[in-house]
Symmetry: C2
Subunit: 154 residues, 2 copies
Protein backbone atom coordinates (compact mmCIF):
# COMPACT_ATOMS: atom_id res chain seq x y z
CA UNK A 1 0.00 0.00 0.00
CA UNK A 2 1.45 3.39 -0.94
CA UNK A 3 0.57 5.03 2.41
CA UNK A 4 3.71 5.05 4.52
CA UNK A 5 3.29 3.72 8.03
CA UNK A 6 5.43 6.19 9.93
CA UNK A 7 5.57 3.95 13.00
CA UNK A 8 7.35 1.30 10.96
CA UNK A 9 10.04 3.61 9.58
CA UNK A 10 13.11 3.55 11.82
CA UNK A 11 14.59 6.85 12.97
CA UNK A 12 18.31 7.00 12.29
CA UNK A 13 20.07 9.24 14.77
CA UNK A 14 23.32 11.02 14.02
CA UNK A 15 25.44 11.13 10.88
CA UNK A 16 28.07 8.88 9.33
CA UNK A 17 30.68 11.64 9.58
CA UNK A 18 34.04 10.87 11.18
CA UNK A 19 34.77 12.55 14.54
CA UNK A 20 34.79 15.40 15.37
CA UNK A 21 32.53 16.37 12.43
CA UNK A 22 29.73 14.12 13.65
CA UNK A 23 29.23 16.04 16.90
CA UNK A 24 26.97 18.90 15.66
CA UNK A 25 24.70 16.36 13.92
CA UNK A 26 24.63 13.78 16.70
CA UNK A 27 21.00 14.46 17.63
CA UNK A 28 19.62 14.75 14.12
CA UNK A 29 17.10 11.97 13.44
CA UNK A 30 16.06 10.99 9.93
CA UNK A 31 13.20 8.80 8.77
CA UNK A 32 13.72 7.65 5.20
CA UNK A 33 10.17 7.88 3.86
CA UNK A 34 11.06 7.52 0.18
CA UNK A 35 13.07 4.37 0.80
CA UNK A 36 10.23 2.98 2.92
CA UNK A 37 7.90 3.56 -0.04
CA UNK A 38 10.21 1.80 -2.50
CA UNK A 39 11.26 4.92 -4.41
CA UNK A 40 14.61 4.99 -6.20
CA UNK A 41 14.68 8.24 -8.20
CA UNK A 42 14.91 10.47 -5.14
CA UNK A 43 15.08 10.23 -1.37
CA UNK A 44 12.65 11.91 1.02
CA UNK A 45 13.64 12.20 4.67
CA UNK A 46 11.47 13.36 7.54
CA UNK A 47 14.05 14.85 9.88
CA UNK A 48 13.97 16.24 13.41
CA UNK A 49 16.66 18.59 14.69
CA UNK A 50 16.75 19.58 18.37
CA UNK A 51 17.95 22.99 19.57
CA UNK A 52 21.62 23.54 18.76
CA UNK A 53 21.74 20.85 16.10
CA UNK A 54 23.06 21.12 12.56
CA UNK A 55 21.29 19.52 9.61
CA UNK A 56 24.68 18.49 8.20
CA UNK A 57 28.15 19.83 7.66
CA UNK A 58 27.91 22.70 5.19
CA UNK A 59 28.15 21.17 1.71
CA UNK A 60 27.05 21.17 -1.92
CA UNK A 61 26.32 18.38 -4.39
CA UNK A 62 27.84 18.09 -7.86
CA UNK A 63 25.02 16.07 -9.46
CA UNK A 64 22.02 16.07 -7.11
CA UNK A 65 19.32 18.67 -6.54
CA UNK A 66 18.07 19.19 -2.99
CA UNK A 67 14.87 20.65 -1.55
CA UNK A 68 13.82 21.37 2.03
CA UNK A 69 10.37 22.15 3.46
CA UNK A 70 10.11 23.23 7.11
CA UNK A 71 7.16 21.60 8.90
CA UNK A 72 7.72 22.84 12.46
CA UNK A 73 10.09 25.18 14.22
CA UNK A 74 12.73 27.50 12.82
CA UNK A 75 16.07 26.91 11.17
CA UNK A 76 18.84 29.26 10.12
CA UNK A 77 20.05 28.47 6.61
CA UNK A 78 23.78 29.20 6.33
CA UNK A 79 25.53 29.69 2.99
CA UNK A 80 28.59 31.56 1.74
CA UNK A 81 28.28 34.98 3.37
CA UNK A 82 24.55 34.71 4.08
CA UNK A 83 22.17 33.58 6.79
CA UNK A 84 18.43 33.21 6.17
CA UNK A 85 15.72 32.32 8.68
CA UNK A 86 13.40 29.52 7.57
CA UNK A 87 10.12 29.20 9.45
CA UNK A 88 7.41 26.56 9.30
CA UNK A 89 5.94 26.65 5.80
CA UNK A 90 9.15 27.96 4.27
CA UNK A 91 11.03 25.98 1.68
CA UNK A 92 14.43 26.20 0.04
CA UNK A 93 15.92 24.69 -3.09
CA UNK A 94 19.57 23.88 -3.74
CA UNK A 95 20.36 23.25 -7.38
CA UNK A 96 23.24 20.87 -8.04
CA UNK A 97 26.74 22.10 -8.73
CA UNK A 98 26.19 25.58 -7.24
CA UNK A 99 29.54 25.54 -5.46
CA UNK A 100 27.82 27.36 -2.58
CA UNK A 101 27.59 25.07 0.42
CA UNK A 102 24.56 25.11 2.70
CA UNK A 103 23.36 23.70 5.95
CA UNK A 104 20.74 24.57 8.54
CA UNK A 105 21.27 25.25 12.22
CA UNK A 106 18.54 25.17 14.86
CA UNK A 107 19.27 28.22 17.01
CA UNK A 108 15.77 28.21 18.48
CA UNK A 109 14.71 26.62 21.79
CA UNK A 110 12.31 24.23 20.03
CA UNK A 111 12.91 21.06 18.02
CA UNK A 112 12.49 21.64 14.29
CA UNK A 113 11.00 19.18 11.84
CA UNK A 114 11.47 19.26 8.08
CA UNK A 115 11.28 17.27 4.88
CA UNK A 116 14.38 16.97 2.74
CA UNK A 117 14.29 15.70 -0.82
CA UNK A 118 17.34 14.81 -2.88
CA UNK A 119 17.76 13.23 -6.28
CA UNK A 120 20.06 10.24 -6.73
CA UNK A 121 22.93 10.20 -9.19
CA UNK A 122 25.81 7.72 -9.10
CA UNK A 123 28.21 10.46 -10.24
CA UNK A 124 27.41 12.76 -7.33
CA UNK A 125 30.18 14.13 -5.15
CA UNK A 126 29.56 16.00 -1.90
CA UNK A 127 32.03 18.79 -1.14
CA UNK A 128 32.13 20.35 2.33
CA UNK A 129 32.64 24.11 2.49
CA UNK A 130 34.23 24.63 5.89
CA UNK A 131 36.18 21.43 6.58
CA UNK A 132 38.53 19.03 4.79
CA UNK A 133 35.88 16.47 3.88
CA UNK A 134 34.17 15.18 0.73
CA UNK A 135 32.20 12.10 -0.22
CA UNK A 136 31.34 10.18 -3.35
CA UNK A 137 27.62 9.90 -2.57
CA UNK A 138 27.37 6.48 -4.17
CA UNK A 139 29.52 4.74 -1.56
CA UNK A 140 28.74 6.90 1.46
CA UNK A 141 32.35 7.16 2.60
CA UNK A 142 33.71 10.45 3.90
CA UNK A 143 37.21 11.31 2.74
CA UNK A 144 39.79 14.04 3.00
CA UNK A 145 39.62 16.30 -0.04
CA UNK A 146 42.82 14.66 -1.34
CA UNK A 147 40.91 11.36 -1.44
CA UNK A 148 42.51 9.67 1.56
CA UNK A 149 40.02 8.10 3.96
CA UNK A 150 39.34 9.14 7.52
CA UNK A 151 39.94 6.46 10.18
CA UNK A 152 37.07 3.98 10.19
CA UNK A 153 35.90 5.10 6.73
CA UNK A 154 38.41 2.97 4.80
CA UNK B 1 18.89 32.89 -2.59
CA UNK B 2 17.69 29.32 -2.04
CA UNK B 3 14.75 30.33 0.18
CA UNK B 4 11.64 30.27 -1.97
CA UNK B 5 9.49 33.37 -1.75
CA UNK B 6 6.05 31.79 -1.77
CA UNK B 7 4.36 35.10 -2.59
CA UNK B 8 6.26 35.24 -5.87
CA UNK B 9 5.31 31.73 -7.00
CA UNK B 10 2.14 31.84 -9.13
CA UNK B 11 -0.71 29.49 -8.27
CA UNK B 12 -1.87 27.58 -11.35
CA UNK B 13 -5.51 26.62 -11.08
CA UNK B 14 -7.01 23.65 -12.87
CA UNK B 15 -5.45 20.99 -15.08
CA UNK B 16 -4.50 20.78 -18.73
CA UNK B 17 -6.93 17.89 -19.27
CA UNK B 18 -9.40 18.06 -22.14
CA UNK B 19 -13.09 18.43 -21.20
CA UNK B 20 -14.86 16.76 -19.49
CA UNK B 21 -11.87 15.27 -17.63
CA UNK B 22 -10.74 18.69 -16.39
CA UNK B 23 -13.90 19.30 -14.34
CA UNK B 24 -12.99 17.37 -11.13
CA UNK B 25 -9.60 19.14 -11.01
CA UNK B 26 -10.84 22.61 -11.92
CA UNK B 27 -10.26 24.01 -8.44
CA UNK B 28 -6.90 22.38 -7.77
CA UNK B 29 -4.17 25.03 -7.38
CA UNK B 30 -0.50 24.18 -7.72
CA UNK B 31 2.55 26.25 -6.84
CA UNK B 32 5.67 24.90 -8.51
CA UNK B 33 8.24 25.36 -5.75
CA UNK B 34 10.95 23.22 -7.32
CA UNK B 35 10.78 25.11 -10.59
CA UNK B 36 10.86 28.41 -8.69
CA UNK B 37 14.06 27.20 -7.01
CA UNK B 38 15.70 26.25 -10.30
CA UNK B 39 15.58 22.48 -9.75
CA UNK B 40 15.53 20.14 -12.75
CA UNK B 41 15.87 16.60 -11.34
CA UNK B 42 12.43 16.60 -9.74
CA UNK B 43 9.40 18.81 -9.34
CA UNK B 44 7.88 19.85 -6.02
CA UNK B 45 4.38 21.29 -6.01
CA UNK B 46 2.57 22.87 -3.09
CA UNK B 47 -1.04 22.08 -3.94
CA UNK B 48 -4.40 23.06 -2.48
CA UNK B 49 -7.53 21.02 -3.12
CA UNK B 50 -10.93 22.30 -1.98
CA UNK B 51 -13.74 20.01 -0.83
CA UNK B 52 -14.92 17.75 -3.64
CA UNK B 53 -11.77 18.18 -5.71
CA UNK B 54 -9.62 15.50 -7.27
CA UNK B 55 -5.81 15.71 -7.25
CA UNK B 56 -5.78 14.38 -10.84
CA UNK B 57 -7.39 11.77 -12.99
CA UNK B 58 -6.38 8.36 -11.62
CA UNK B 59 -3.07 7.47 -13.30
CA UNK B 60 0.33 5.86 -13.05
CA UNK B 61 3.74 6.81 -14.45
CA UNK B 62 5.98 4.49 -16.46
CA UNK B 63 9.30 6.17 -15.58
CA UNK B 64 8.74 8.63 -12.74
CA UNK B 65 8.48 8.08 -8.98
CA UNK B 66 5.95 10.16 -7.06
CA UNK B 67 5.64 11.13 -3.39
CA UNK B 68 2.92 13.00 -1.51
CA UNK B 69 3.00 14.54 1.99
CA UNK B 70 -0.26 15.89 3.45
CA UNK B 71 0.21 19.23 5.24
CA UNK B 72 -3.39 20.09 6.10
CA UNK B 73 -6.77 18.44 5.81
CA UNK B 74 -7.68 14.93 4.71
CA UNK B 75 -7.60 13.16 1.38
CA UNK B 76 -8.88 9.79 0.25
CA UNK B 77 -6.28 7.93 -1.79
CA UNK B 78 -7.97 5.81 -4.45
CA UNK B 79 -6.21 2.91 -6.19
CA UNK B 80 -7.29 -0.34 -7.84
CA UNK B 81 -9.78 -1.83 -5.38
CA UNK B 82 -8.59 0.21 -2.40
CA UNK B 83 -9.31 3.47 -0.62
CA UNK B 84 -7.01 4.84 2.10
CA UNK B 85 -7.51 7.93 4.23
CA UNK B 86 -4.52 10.26 4.36
CA UNK B 87 -4.45 12.81 7.17
CA UNK B 88 -2.12 15.71 7.88
CA UNK B 89 1.32 14.25 8.50
CA UNK B 90 0.65 11.19 6.35
CA UNK B 91 2.66 10.48 3.27
CA UNK B 92 2.41 8.10 0.35
CA UNK B 93 4.86 6.88 -2.27
CA UNK B 94 4.08 5.72 -5.80
CA UNK B 95 6.93 3.85 -7.44
CA UNK B 96 7.11 4.13 -11.21
CA UNK B 97 5.64 1.49 -13.48
CA UNK B 98 3.35 -0.02 -10.84
CA UNK B 99 0.45 -0.29 -13.26
CA UNK B 100 -1.82 0.64 -10.33
CA UNK B 101 -3.27 4.09 -10.89
CA UNK B 102 -3.81 6.50 -8.01
CA UNK B 103 -5.37 9.81 -7.26
CA UNK B 104 -6.65 11.62 -4.18
CA UNK B 105 -10.13 12.96 -3.57
CA UNK B 106 -11.02 15.55 -0.94
CA UNK B 107 -14.26 14.21 0.55
CA UNK B 108 -13.90 16.41 3.65
CA UNK B 109 -15.50 19.82 4.20
CA UNK B 110 -12.09 21.51 4.51
CA UNK B 111 -9.51 22.50 1.88
CA UNK B 112 -6.52 20.16 1.89
CA UNK B 113 -2.93 21.18 1.30
CA UNK B 114 -0.14 18.83 0.29
CA UNK B 115 3.31 18.59 -1.23
CA UNK B 116 3.78 16.43 -4.29
CA UNK B 117 7.21 15.40 -5.55
CA UNK B 118 7.86 13.73 -8.89
CA UNK B 119 11.04 12.83 -10.72
CA UNK B 120 11.55 13.89 -14.32
CA UNK B 121 12.27 11.45 -17.11
CA UNK B 122 11.86 12.23 -20.81
CA UNK B 123 10.69 8.65 -21.44
CA UNK B 124 7.80 8.90 -18.99
CA UNK B 125 4.28 8.04 -20.09
CA UNK B 126 1.21 8.71 -17.95
CA UNK B 127 -1.57 6.14 -18.27
CA UNK B 128 -5.02 6.87 -16.87
CA UNK B 129 -6.83 4.01 -15.16
CA UNK B 130 -10.48 4.91 -15.56
CA UNK B 131 -10.69 6.89 -18.79
CA UNK B 132 -9.34 6.77 -22.35
CA UNK B 133 -6.45 9.17 -21.79
CA UNK B 134 -2.66 9.01 -21.70
CA UNK B 135 0.16 11.51 -21.97
CA UNK B 136 3.82 11.51 -22.91
CA UNK B 137 4.95 13.57 -19.90
CA UNK B 138 7.66 15.31 -21.89
CA UNK B 139 5.27 17.21 -24.14
CA UNK B 140 2.34 17.61 -21.76
CA UNK B 141 -0.28 16.68 -24.35
CA UNK B 142 -3.20 14.45 -23.39
CA UNK B 143 -4.14 11.82 -25.96
CA UNK B 144 -6.54 8.95 -26.48
CA UNK B 145 -4.87 5.66 -25.62
CA UNK B 146 -4.60 4.92 -29.36
CA UNK B 147 -2.41 8.01 -29.68
CA UNK B 148 -4.89 10.34 -31.38
CA UNK B 149 -5.12 13.77 -29.81
CA UNK B 150 -8.11 15.27 -28.04
CA UNK B 151 -9.50 18.47 -29.57
CA UNK B 152 -7.30 21.39 -28.63
CA UNK B 153 -4.40 19.11 -27.68
CA UNK B 154 -3.09 18.60 -31.22
Amino acid sequence: MPRIDLASVPGRKGSGYPAPFDAPCADRTRRRLGDAGGLTDFGVNLTTLPPGGWSSQRHWHSHEDEFVYVLEGELVLVEDGAETLLKAGDSAAFAKNSGNGHHMINRSPVTARYLEVGSRNPDDVITCSDIDMMSPSSDGRFLHKDGTPYPGQG
